[in-house]
């Protein structure tokens, strides 16, 4: 961890541009080769629980990205003053502030959505991705890269969530964007009588689907298990 800090500081001295190649990597890596769900296998519970439709998946993505990015910034600002023995509880306190904010916003403006997502918004506090990024990145890096890292990981999480939700909603229920203004009954509008696949609507179906996504991604990237 300490070597990583030193490295960043050396670069900063040359007044690094805001979107240097290194910083852009912070966003792009989590989308593919360092994806929090398919590669690090974190945040699975919410990925299985709220992806039966696209709408909650989008809301969850926004919520988690927001929380991860800003928690990263705050922990990064505080990183030199947090005693390492109590760092987890400090991190939790910071995260919960942001989660409560998201929760209250949802309840105030999209109450139906908040009810549908039930405990999963509150459970962002214990989402492994948030804690993982705080521990692995924000504790050793400056605020701006930490912000980008949080943003990247939130989006990487969101990409998988939305892919899952897209397939599950399309083949499970035969609709797309249900609950949004541009709701689309795909098969009905094409005049096909479609029988929804009940397995995809179950969390077990989402788990199988996630496995398939990991399979495809590893095949494309040529990933090999290291022994």
């Amino acid at each position: 961890m300490s070597t990583e800090v030193a490295e960043v500081e050396v670069v900063e001295k040359k007044s690094e541009p805001l979107f240097s190649k290194k910083n852009r990597k912070l966003i792009s890596n989590p989308l593919d080769i360092d994806n929090p769900i398919t590669v690090q296998v974190l945040g699975i519970c919410s990925a299985l629980a709220i992806t039966s439709q696209i709408k909650p998946a989008i809301v969850m993505t926004l919520g988690l990205t927001f929380v991860t990015a800003f928690s990263n910034v705050f922990i990064s600002l505080l990183r030199n003053t947090i005693p390492s023995r109590i760092r987890i509880i400090v991190q939790l306190a910071v995260v919960s502030v942001w989660v409560i904010m998201v929760d209250q916003l949802l309840k105030a403006y999209v109450y139906d959505m908040a009810k549908l997502m039930s405990v999963y918004v509150g459970l962002i506090i214990t989402n492994c991705i948030v804690m993982g990024r705080l521990e692995a990145y924000a504790m050793g890096n400056k605020p701006w890269p930490s912000f980008l890292d949080g943003l990247g990981n939130g989006l990487g999480y969101g990409v998988i969530l939305i892919i899952l939700a897209f397939v599950r909603e399309l083949f499970g229920g035969g609709t797309l964007f249900k609950g949004l203004p541009f709701e689309w009954h795909v098969f009905e509008s094409m005049g096909i009588k479609y029988q929804g696949n009940g397995l995809l609507l179950l969390p077990a179906g989402a788990c199988i689907l996630l496995g398939v996504i990991i399979w495809v991604q590893r095949t494309l990237n040529g990933y090999r298990e290291s022994h």
Binding site: L199, G205, W215
Partner: protein
């Protein structure tokens, strides 16, 4: 035969290294070895094992064991069809024709889709086409209702072969029984087409007055709420159009509605005889599944409490798919326990769980499918403990 052999020899160079269809070599090889003995058999002299039992022959043995179930199933589908539409006098030929029309397309779809996927994976992964699907492709139709939509058979087969088998590395590597994976997929994906009263093929004809699609399991489950005696309910079922269909003897013979191949306990037992006699299936698994179910049934009889629990234990052995599952699914050498002690534990637990699910879980009327899949998952764990117990026993005996 000579002509066919010559033709194959003629096109062979195209598939060899450097030929124009080189990457399809394994598809060609599968076809060639399926039709003729491979050129690479062992010589007559030397110390190699000379028994010709290989995967292909083992698989063919299992298929032969399934033939009684299949033939009986074809007749039974037609028989039940004519009973349900009130034409009990239909001839044997009519019944077999209706059965063939219903069953053959399912068999064709199952083999077509499954083998197609096997060939694609063999070509991509550059390994010989395995024969594992020969048995699976026959098992899948036998555990489907006769009027299942064909596209569902295709989807389920594709799912089972890709997710259940190829994802784990192909034949011999699967954790779950592939045919049961296909059935479980349909059960959870399209429950309306594989549960309730779908077990008799009606077609466009109108059902006879008094017709009911109830199964012995659903009758038993309903008796719990009604508080009636299960056996007398079963014996009086079908009055007027199919009298005595659910008497014990009739259910043992299997002349009742159900999945295509699983209704007849008798045919399953004939299959079991073939499997055990040829060494293709383990008698320990078969006996222990029956034993476990019977024992659990007896235990529930003693405890009593509701109508289903008081149903005589031997009824559990003939209703539903227990016999078929015990003989053809639980004995699958890939997914069952490998150790001899493990096979007893594995089989007994399948029987026990089947009865438990049947009696206590109203959401799942039949338990054998889920029980076998569950124990498939636990089989390696059972083996692990059996092996380590054996190690400990021998370590104690050792005087080092």
């Amino acid at each position: 035969m000579k002509f066919l052999h010559d033709q194959i020899e003629k096109i062979k160079p195209h598939f060899m290294k450097g030929g124009k269809w080189e990457k399809h070599y394994y598809s060609f090889e599968a076809l060639e070895t399926f039709l003729f003995a491979p050129a690479t058999t062992n010589g007559a002299k030397g110390a190699q094992i000379r028994d010709a039992i290989d995967l292909k022959r083992l698989m063919m043995t299992v298929i032969i064991a399934m033939v009684p179930c299949l033939l009986f199933g074809i007749w039974n589908v037609g028989h039940q069809h004519f009973l349900a539409i009130g034409q009990a006098g239909a001839t044997l030929g009519d019944k077999i024709t209706v059965g063939l029309i219903q069953v053959l397309p399912i068999v064709v779809v199952s083999y077509g889709v499954g083998l197609g996927i096997e060939f694609v994976f063999a070509t991509i992964r550059r390994h010989p086409v395995n024969e594992g699907f020969l048995v699976t492709g026959m098992l899948i139709p036998l555990v489907m209702p006769p009027d299942i939509p064909l596209w569902q058979v295709a989807v389920a087969t594709a799912f089972a072969v890709i997710i259940g088998k190829e994802a784990f590395g192909g034949t011999g590597m699967n954790v779950l029984n592939v045919a049961l994976t296909a059935r479980a997929f349909l059960y959870f994906a399209y429950p309306t087409d594989i549960s309730g009263s779908v077990w008799t093929y009606l077609g466009d004809a109108k059902a006879v007055a008094g017709y009911s699609g109830a199964t012995p399991l659903s009758i038993a489950a309903e008796s719990v709420a009604a508080g009636t005696n299960v056996v007398s309910q079963l014996n009086s079922f079908g009055a007027g159009w199919n009298e005595g269909v659910f008497t014990f003897n009739n259910m043992f013979m299997g002349i009742m509605p159900g999945c295509i191949g699983e209704t007849s306990t008798l045919m399953c037992l004939i299959g079991a005889l073939i499997l055990v006699a040829t060494g293709a299936g383990s008698w320990k698994v078969i006996v222990s599944v029956f034993g476990g179910a019977y024992g659990m049934g007896l235990l529930l009889n003693i405890i009593g409490g509701n109508a289903f629990m008081e149903m005589p234990a031997h009824y559990h052995l003939v209703i539903g798919g227990l016999a078929f599952g015990a003989v053809f699914m639980a004995t699958d050498p890939v997914t069952a326990s490998q150790t001899e002690t493990g096979k007893w534990i594995y089989g007994i637990l399948i029987g026990v769980f089947t009865v438990l699910i049947r009696v206590f879980n109203p959401a799942y009327p039949e338990g054998i499918m889920l029980a076998i899949l569950l124990m498939n998952v636990f089989a390696p764990l059972i083996d692990y403990y059996v092996v380590s117990a054996n190690k400990n026993r021998r370590l104690k005996r050792a005087t080092v």
